[in-house]
């Protein structure tokens, strides 16, 4: 076996080691790379900017802990943005593997860092199983799907929810989604009830939502950690009070940048070796 053949089949543990070092170095010594904002994220931000204090947004925490590193930072940024705008947030979850706990954690963080009180600036309605079924039923009456909030307080007794009967009373719905739930918010909630829907999703899921965005079925897409870092940047640019708050996605972009470069290096290196070995075989 020639040297090129040997390099063509590099032991994967060597690749793992490079990825590990590539991830570790920016954590120890942050680079602080700048963030440029893409149009799909800007559109979501602008839509919330257009709202008036007292308007309501529905945020569905349709993801579990595995997607937390990408979706938690965007949830934090959107919640902060709504808080600064005075927009009411109604949170809920339709994802069974821990969605409700993600909602509780994010809203608790909002309360801790900005003092937003439960039942005043936000309400967490908790989890409901069935995904499409509650999505459809909420078009008629949210209280029939969530008779109480996550703490067991009846829907009718929560002053913030007064006048919020169904989708017609909300300015928009945002699904922070993994799996197919984001598509259902678009296909079912936007298409049937006409409410604006925005999607925050993992980087691997983001491409499919571009088709819906171009068809104006979703008004914007926040894709992965990059999208989250863009939203963090927008919030900090527009609201000085956001300065000093955690920007985990922006910090994570350093790691992502280096790991992407490692992957690109290995792809190019692998192809170089592939071309060399193919050339040798053809020469023989």
């Amino acid at each position: 076996m020639s040297w090129a053949d040997r390099l063509l089949f590099v032991d994967r543990r060597i690749i793992f080691l490079f990825v590990f070092v590539g991830a570790l170095v920016p954590i120890i010594a942050p680079i602080g790379l700048g963030v440029t904002v893409s149009p799909p994220v800007q559109q979501v931000f602008d839509r919330i900017e257009e709202m008036q204090p007292g308007d309501a947004v529905m945020i569905a925490f349709d993801y579990g802990p595995s997607d937390g590193p990408e979706l938690d930072p965007m949830a934090n940024s959107i919640l902060r943005h709504c808080h600064f705008r005075g927009v009411k947030v109604v949170g809920l979850s339709l994802f069974p593997l821990g969605g409700v706990d993600m909602a509780i954690a994010r809203m608790r963080q909002l309360a801790d860092e900005l003092g937003a009180a439960d039942g005043v600036g936000w309400v967490n309605l908790g989890y409901k199983d069935g995904a499409q079924a509650p999505m459809k039923a909420m078009g008629e009456n949210i209280a029939s799907v969530f008779p109480t909030d996550a703490n067991g307080v009846p829907y009718e007794e929560i002053a913030m929810l007064e006048g919020l009967r169904n989708y017609n009373n909300f300015e928009m719905a945002i699904s922070l989604a993994t799996s197919i739930l984001g598509e259902w918010w678009i296909n079912l909630v936007n298409a049937q009830f006409g409410i604006d829907v925005a999607i925050g999703t993992t980087a691997v899921s983001a491409p499919k939502y571009y088709a819906y965005m171009e068809a104006k079925q979703t008004l914007g897409v926040i894709g992965g950690m990059k999208g989250a870092s863009e939203y963090e940047e927008l919030v900090e640019r527009h609201y000085p009070q956001a300065k000093g708050l955690s920007r985990t996605a922006t910090m994570g972009m350093d790691v992502q940048s280096i790991v992407h470069l490692v992957i690109i290096f290995f792809i190019l290196f692998g192809n170089l070796m592939f071309i060399v070995t193919r050339g040798k075989k053809e020469a023989k």
Partner: protein, 212 residues
């Protein structure tokens, strides 16, 4: 009758929401459609119960037969029972003194780190798989490779440092070639789902009776 009644119910339950969507008649919408929506939420919850029963049966069967990996089945059943007991009888969230109930503790300190670990491993496997899979074997593979490189560079801040146009090129790839391909997939899947729905509506397809 055993056959006709379920088919009739399925036809009525599937056709009425469609009629209500196109002809928002008050009687259909308020009385029938809203009632169906409420039932749908309840019936969907029973699917979860069905899943739990099926999971228990499959794993008990595996343990009895000492099938490959039966030890993992024991772990599944024990952790499932523990979490269910904590969730049903042990309370959730925080106690008044700030400590966590067992269910929430298990979720935060066992389930979440395990899931995060599984997902984090992807970065390593993606790097290794990319090295082996992205080869310029033919024109299609080369185009795929070029597209992947553009997106990978364009989706990181370093892309802007290389050239300010790099993120725009990545956005163009996402907006046009990607959207075109995604539309094909979505429209194909939607047509399949629509034809399947029509087959269920007219009673040709009867998965609810345990056969087609």
């Amino acid at each position: 009758m055993k056959r006709q009644i379920p088919i009739m119910l399925a036809i009525i339950a599937s056709v009425c929401p469609v009629i209500a969507f196109f002809f928002p008649d008050r009687w259909i919408n308020e009385w029938f459609n809203q009632r169906l929506d409420a039932w749908m939420v309840i019936i969907a919850s029973f699917a979860l119960l069905l899943g739990i029963v099926s999971m228990i049966q499959v794993n008990i069967h595996k343990i009895r037969r000492r099938a490959r990996g039966w030890g993992f089945s024991i772990i599944i059943l024990v952790t499932f029972t523990l979490m269910a007991a904590f969730g049903l009888f042990g309370g959730q969230g925080e106690r008044a003194d700030g400590s966590l109930y067992p269910f929430t503790w298990m979720f935060q300190f066992v389930f979440s780190p395990l899931q995060a670990t599984m997902f984090s491993l992807l970065a390593f496997y993606v790097a290794s798989a990319s090295y082996r899979a992205f080869r310029v074997r033919n024109v299609e593979a080369t185009l795929l490779l070029i597209g992947a490189l553009i997106i990978m560079v364009g989706r990181i801040p370093l892309g802007t440092l290389i050239h300010p146009l790099v993120p725009d090129i990545a956005e163009w790839v996402m907006k046009f070639p990607n959207t075109a391909a995604q539309r094909g997939i979505i429209i194909g899947a939607a047509l399949g789902a629509a034809s399947m729905s029509v087959r269920v509506m007219v009673g040709i397809e009867r998965p609810y009776m345990g056969k087609s």
